[in-house]
């Protein structure tokens, strides 16, 4: 039942007039407070992003002297762009490439292992299923940083430090993805449907590949998004396990910071990065995720609330 139909029933079909009545002073104050709270928090959340979009269009001195929300010029944006991509003979491109490579490869492995796992946990009875499920839930709820140092210690004992695998394999372990596919299969696919296919003589692999998989497209996209976002934004793990030209852009950004004279007046490096260029690097580093958020907002919200809306 929609909000409107309910309201129509409650008010016996009469259109609501309450809003048109004159507000009491108390209601006025209440409404004003609400508007004020919303405006203050909207500004708090959005102004830093607007600033970040505008800053790369300015020169260093414009950034320091002009108003924070002024627009510089497209020429200056191009100049900052060139400075950023020329830095360290194009190392920023390498970092972005590394981020894309790590995040995407891990995403593929995550999907290959989590979709069948979620399916089996939801729809197949086997010994140890409950143990695996509970373990998944517990690991899913611990912050991913909690395992970073132990994973580093393990990888250094295994002599894997410095290898791309040291980033990709831990990234591929994504229990939240298994949980999402588990929830999806246990609510959206019925056992009867699978049993019907079995009675028709389909083997287990065919039941999974031809009955369950085609139904799973929405959850595959959902897990893909979450995994990509988590991988791309991860700083701590790659910071510990890879170095040199293998670092992703999150770690690279912090390295750029060391070459900004405004933050490091004594910087030894002869090549310096100006503030607007650092802002541009920050903006580019988040651009892929920002785009995903802009275009897949509804999608992501569904995933976040998958835990408890259906009781």
């Amino acid at each position: 039942m929609t909000d409107q139909t309910t309201r129509a029933i409650v008010t016996n079909g009469a259109p609501r007039r309450r809003e048109r009545h004159a507000l009491t002073p108390g209601q006025w104050i209440g409404r004003a407070v609400v508007v004020l709270v919303l405006l203050v928090f909207a500004a708090f959340f959005i102004l830093p992003i607007i600033w970040l979009v505008l800053a790369p269009t300015k020169t260093n001195s414009q950034l320091l002297q002009e108003g924070p929300f002024s627009f510089g010029s497209f020429d200056q944006l191009a100049a900052n762009w060139n400075e950023l991509f020329a830095f360290g003979s194009g190392v920023f491109t390498t970092w972005m490439g590394n981020s894309a490579f790590y995040s995407f490869t891990a995403l593929v492995i995550t999907l290959i292992v989590s979709v069948p796992a979620g399916y089996a946990l939801a729809l197949i009875e086997f010994k140890g299923r409950r143990l695996l499920l509970v373990t998944t839930l517990i690991v899913m709820l611990i912050p991913n940083t909690a395992l970073v140092l132990p994973i580093f210690l393990e990888l250094s004992a295994a002599k894997l430090i410095g290898s791309p695998l040291a980033v990709i394999l831990p990234f591929s372990f994504f229990p939240f993805g298994v949980y999402l596919t588990y929830i999806y299969f246990s609510t959206a696919v019925s056992r009867d449907l699978l049993n019907a296919a079995r009675i028709d003589g389909a083997g287990e692999v065919r039941v999974f590949a031809q009955v369950a998989m085609p139904l799973a497209t929405p959850v595959i996209a959902l897990v893909g998004f979450f995994s990509f976002v988590a991988n791309w934004n991860n700083y701590f793990l790659p910071f510990l396990v890879v170095g040199g030209t293998k670092i992703p852009v999150q770690v690279g950004l912090a390295n750029l910071l060391a070459n900004v004279p405004a933050f490091n007046p004594t910087t030894a490096s002869s090549i310096v990065i100006q503030l607007p260029t650092l802002a541009l690097a920050t903006l580019i580093s988040v651009a892929p995720i920002l785009l995903i958020f802009l275009f897949a907002q509804r999608f992501l919200v569904e995933g976040m609330t998958a835990g408890g809306t259906k009781e």
């Binding site: 309910t6 928090f41 830093p48 298994v178 949980y179 933050f263």
Partner: protein
């Protein structure tokens, strides 16, 4: 239970189980092993005693505790208030826009968000430089003085994290039947009374979920102080948080046992909170 089916069950979970063992269980066990040994010999709780005795340990615990306290209180109060306020907006596009604006900073995480906040907190370039000047701050160094850090980290974490919680709470508020809200209104309940007596009780489960998750995440503080330390030439100390200290043990002092001891303590906190929530909270039960 069908034997043929159950065999395929194992095949289907095998890849994930391998990763779970390799990057969930094994690192935990190895960190445990390291934390109770030194150069391969069992030393009991020596590593823990050594870490406790480190002059940097207690301050790091206090820093993290203070930050977590600030963050939890502000998160719970403001997220609930904002979710209820946004939920009360009758104009549909306005409500959607508000949620979207609150949510979008969540895209900016990790080092990127700290870098952005370096700019925001630096009075010489900040979008709110007038505000910072009015508060008496003339440079980044003033703003990120050690005493201010719990508030600074709270603001950064709230900026990036609150929006998704607001969206979740908003979804939960949609589950309050319209009839109940309508009845309360007819009985003469104002918006504040409705929020307190009807909406808030519906949110308690989600509030406790948010509290537990945020508490666990807060104890892990690393990237914010790490990058601020770098940007301020260690005016923000490089041993401010527990994870930073664990990092220094491993990388500066080459003391993997001490590093493992700190990690194990943090991991116990995270696992404990998560397990309590799974077994007591029932939020994720499906069977």
């Amino acid at each position: 239970m069908n034997a043929g089916q159950s065999r395929y069950g194992y095949v289907f979970v095998s890849g994930y189980t391998l990763l779970l063992l390799a990057f969930g269980l094994l690192p935990t066990l190895y960190a445990l092993y390291l934390s109770f040994t030194r150069n391969g010999a069992f030393v009991g709780v020596d590593n823990f005693v050594r870490v406790f005795g480190d002059y940097r340990f207690l301050p790091a615990v206090m820093h993290v505790a203070l930050y977590v306290l600030f963050w939890l209180v502000s998160l719970i109060v403001l997220v609930v208030v904002l979710a209820i306020v946004v939920h009360g907006i009758r104009v549909r596009w306005l409500g959607n826009t508000a949620r979207f604006l609150f949510y979008i900073p969540g895209a900016i995480a990790g080092a990127s968000s700290v870098l952005l906040w370096l700019f925001v907190l630096d009075p010489s370039v900040s979008p709110v430089s007038a505000l910072l000047h009015a508060m008496g701050y003339e440079s980044l160094i003033n703003v990120v003085a050690v005493g201010n850090l719990p508030v600074v980290f709270t603001v950064i974490a709230f900026w990036a994290g609150a929006g998704s919680w607001i969206v979740i709470m908003y979804g939960a508020l949609n589950n309050v039947p319209v009839e109940v809200m309508e009845a309360a209104r007819i009985d003469g309940a104002g918006p504040v009374q409705t929020a307190w007596h009807i909406q808030l009780p519906m949110l308690t489960k989600w509030i406790s979920y948010m509290g537990v998750m945020s508490l666990a995440a807060g104890t892990q503080l690393f990237v914010e102080p790490k990058i601020l330390a770098q940007a301020t030439k260690n005016i923000v100390p490089e041993d401010y948080s527990l994870n930073q200290l664990a990092y220094l043990y491993a990388f500066r002092q080459n003391d993997f046992s001490g590093s493992a001891a700190i990690s194990v303590m943090l991991l116990v906190v995270a696992l404990g909170l998560s397990a309590i929530f799974i077994f007591r909270g029932k939020l994720f039960e499906r069977d």
